[in-house]
Amino acid sequence: MPETPVEEAPPVEDASVPPSAEAASDGYQVRLDVFEGPLDLLLFLIRKKKIDIHDIPIAAITRDYLGYLDRKTEINLDREAEFVFIAALLIYIKSQMLLPRETDLAEHEDPRRVLIDRLVEYEKVKAACSLLREREDVQILQWKRDFIPPLHGESELEPVELSLFDLAESFFRMMKRREADDTRVIRGRDVPIEVKMKELVTLLQERHVLDFLEYFESHASLEEALVSFFCILELVKSRVAVAVQDELFQTIRVWLRKDPHRTAAHE
């Protein structure tokens, strides 16, 4: 059962039957072709022997446990390391129990304590699971709407929620996608300087004054922006255009020099 990725919901025809009957078959008596985890196996052994979980005969349980481990067919082999880890813990506890002691151990000194605590906790989680399964069985048959019904007039709500995981996942997928893309060479289009120069002069004539930064940001590629930059430098150098920055960090305005005397005042 634990090997099956998904379990079928009970047949729809059974919707009226309390799903607890189904869930009960999840209990220990009928179950388990394969033990998914070591705690699962331990609990099974304890129940089979009708042992009090708080007073586990470690030697006997360890023997049984190792027996299952040897057979391998009954445990989830993907989890072998975890089964072996608990086996080591059992053997360690057993050795601790065998140490000669002068006085009886207080309860909190019981070497089994650490294992008992885990088993008790795990047993509770398993029991909670059977209760939660009952709820799940009822809920998955009921359908909620994942849209908003039409209102009078327009409705433009997008049903997307943001979560940290969504965000991180989105970034991760994007980077993966990019990794794949990077194997492909992306070539920007060549921009001949003469063409750009003409384009720039035309623009200056049309607009009279150009915002330097705005003009740069309008370029699709860095290459194209650089070409424009050289064009402007060239135009300023050859005194065809004037570039003025009123204050540090402010935008630079560019215009064509029409009347050399008037523009000189700006410089």
Partner: protein, 184 residues
């Protein structure tokens, strides 16, 4: 019963995709006592639970919302052309239960409770949005901390985390299982 109040509440619960809370209703239906609103909802719930109705109002995630009744699952799926919803695997449910009861928890805490590495199960639960990452623990390695989500409450039809099976209920189940065990 105030019929127009009931009608208004019906439309509000109906139109919402998420459970509508009493607080939300209170903000919108001004000047009406919470008790009166609740009485109207109770009335609505009763009406929908009657025979011959295909949808009903359920309480989950701290509010009320509509859903179809379980009896029509097969036909609903045929109309929407979707497969039967799969139950969670036992590994997934176990991981979810461990998180629900011990939250906020880290991956290694969940794995310790289950005795097996739970990274894969956590991933699937995250994808299903039944759990969420809520931050990091101030501990070596600053591991991510997980909690159950609002979708988790809706998924199991729980009003809040207080609705999780109690210690007493769990103890009762354990007793029953042991009793069955003891029989020949």
């Amino acid at each position: 019963m105030n019929n127009s109040l009931k009608a208004l509440i019906e439309s509000l619960i109906f139109v919402s995709q998420e459970p509508v809370t009493l607080a939300q209703l209170g903000t919108i239906v001004e000047g009406v006592e919470a008790a009166e609103i609740e009485a109207a909802i109770e009335d609505l719930i009763r009406e929908y639970e009657a025979e011959g109705r295909g949808i009903h109002i359920i309480r989950a995630g701290g509010g009320w919302l509509y859903s179809t009744k379980p009896a029509h699952d097969r036909e609903v799926r045929r109309l929407l052309q979707i497969e039967r919803k799969n139950r969670l695997s036992s590994a997934g449910l176990e991981t979810l239960a461990a998180i629900a009861y011990r939250q906020p928890v880290t991956q290694s805490e969940v794995s310790a409770i289950r005795g097996v590495d739970s990274t894969g199960a956590l991933k699937t639960l995250l994808e299903k949005k039944l759990i969420k990452i809520v931050g990091r623990k101030k501990a070596p390695g600053n591991p991510l901390v997980y909690r159950t989500s609002d979708e988790f409450l809706l998924y199991l039809g729980l009003d809040s985390l207080d609705g999780l099976p109690s210690e007493a209920e769990i103890a009762k189940i354990l007793e029953e299982e042991k009793a069955v065990e003891a029989e020949p």
